[in-house]
Amino acid sequence: MLRIENLCSGYGGFEVLQNISLEMGAGETVAVLGPNGAGKSTLLKVISGLLKPTSGKIYFEGRRIDGKPSHEIVEMGISLVPEGGRLFPELTVYNNLLVGAYNKRTRRHFKETLEEVFSLFPIIKERQNQIAGLMSGGERQMVAIARALMSRPKLLMLDEPSSGLAPKIVASIFEFVKEIKERGYSVLMVEQTVKKAVGLADRVYLLESGRMVFSGDQTSFLNNPKIKSSYLGI
């Protein structure tokens, strides 16, 4: 479904991602882990078209998408939940969801998609007229995920959905991610909280200062001696 080959990218001559390769199949959940500044957000920005690669290729369902503008990439079925949610703060929750379904492919299915999303997040239905910027961090993150689902993505990308949230809220966010996964979406998740993210993932990648230093399934990740000592603290 998604294949990344030897991707390099960065900000104005400052190279962040170096030779990244990644592969995920339809219906899979993949976690990309790494410390602060490793380039996790940068990777998701390149996939979603916010940042151009300097070299390398990205294929989505067999078609090359690297270098395409972001509004075309969402049309193809990739949706991003940015770091911190980044709702449109002055719009109502309802209008945030409306914008989520802006692309041509999904706009005419707005009503049915809205019902589906409400069935997944019943609380949002009650809050739909609230101004998004006035919600709590956990609520904002939930609406951000709902907004991304409004575009009926095949691939949902989450940038640190747990960052800055209380443990209890983090647990419920991951419950939602689990449910989304069970509904058949492919999920590409970027995280620092190793335990929760790994528990949901079919494949795990480890990113360190712009390079992929590990890829494998859950068990090989958890049993890797180097990872054990430096990330899991065992």
Binding site: P69, F88, N95, L98, Y102, K104
Partner: protein
């Protein structure tokens, strides 16, 4: 009584000013440029109405509608020729380019229409209730201004395109990830902003005669209102327009029109010094 009259007429005039400032404010909020040639668009609109009614004998209302459409098209032309090529350029380049457009439009009008005042003779009554005198032209401007602003409110809150415009203004990057092509939204914003300059011109027809330097005063006035309310803050701009309307009206009634302008500028300076984010503005977006 004199002051009460001035306040009422100032408030009424504020309706047109609100409309005028809204156009500049919207373009700043969405495209992040200060449209320095905005008043010149209004000026061209007034010249067009003059050209159509006086020289070609087109009925006044039809001339106004044609002028509004023409200014919207002029705005599209401005977007493609001046703004779009400079979208990624430093703000100072954008400012200079639009200031260039200001000079071009002024001199084009000077060359075409000459330096004298041109106007359409519209005789509108002055209504009075007791000792309160209200110019019908102000009343029309107020009505048109508020109706147009009401329609804009519905457009920006209830339609897909309108909500997308606000989304781009609040977070251009994320709106792209939502499937919004910001370039299309910029273009639509210029069409709307241009049409608003056209409607403002139509409201000005019974009030002002036009001359080649007519536009600069209104670019400045729109800018003052936008600063007063907080740049990009549409509600702040709305309130700012009424404040400026009343202040300039009182100033002109008690002393003379120039004093009204000077007071408006002083208020603007005070705001920049004391509250740079504007009355309702937020200091910085986090």
């Amino acid at each position: 009584m004199l002051i009460l009259n001035a306040v009422i007429n100032g408030l009424l005039f504020g309706g047109v000013l609100a409309l005028m400032a809204f156009g500049m404010n919207l373009m700043f909020g969405v495209v992040q440029i200060v449209h320095l040639a905005y008043g010149q668009f209004i000026m061209v609109g007034l010249y067009l109405v003059y050209l159509l009614t006086v020289l070609y004998h087109v009925p006044l209302l039809l001339s106004c509608v044609l002028a509004i459409i023409a200014i919207a098209l002029l705005s599209v032309l401005c977007y493609y020729s001046v703004v779009k090529p400079l979208l990624k350029a430093p703000p100072i380049n954008q400012l200079l380019a639009l200031a260039g457009l200001w000079i071009v439009l002024e001199n084009a009008c000077l060359a075409f229409f000459g330096a004298t005042y041109k106007g359409v003779q519209v005789v509108l009554p002055v209504l009075h209730v007791g000792e309160i005198y209200i110019a019908a032209s102000n009343l029309i401007g107020f009505g048109v201004g508020l109706i147009t602003l009401g329609l804009l409110y519905l457009f920006l809150n209830k339609t897909y395109t309108g909500v997308a415009i606000r989304a781009v203004a609040q977070d251009t990057e994320v709106s792209g990830v939502m499937g919004i092509n910001s370039r299309t939204i910029y273009l639509i914003t210029f069409v709307v902003g241009g049409a608003l300059a056209g409607v403002t011109a139509a409201c000005f027809v019974p009030v002002y005669a036009v001359h080649p330097h007519f536009g600069s005063a209104f670019t400045l006035l729109a800018f003052i209102i936008v600063i007063l309310g907080g740049m990009g803050n549409l509600i702040g701009g709305f309130i700012g327009a009424f404040i400026i309307g009343v202040v300039t009206s009182i100033g002109s009634t008690l002393l003379n029109p120039e004093i009204g302008q000077i007071i408006a500028l002083l208020i603007c300076l005070l705001i920049i010094i004391l509250r740079p984010q504007g009355l309702l503005g937020v200091r910085a977006r986090t």
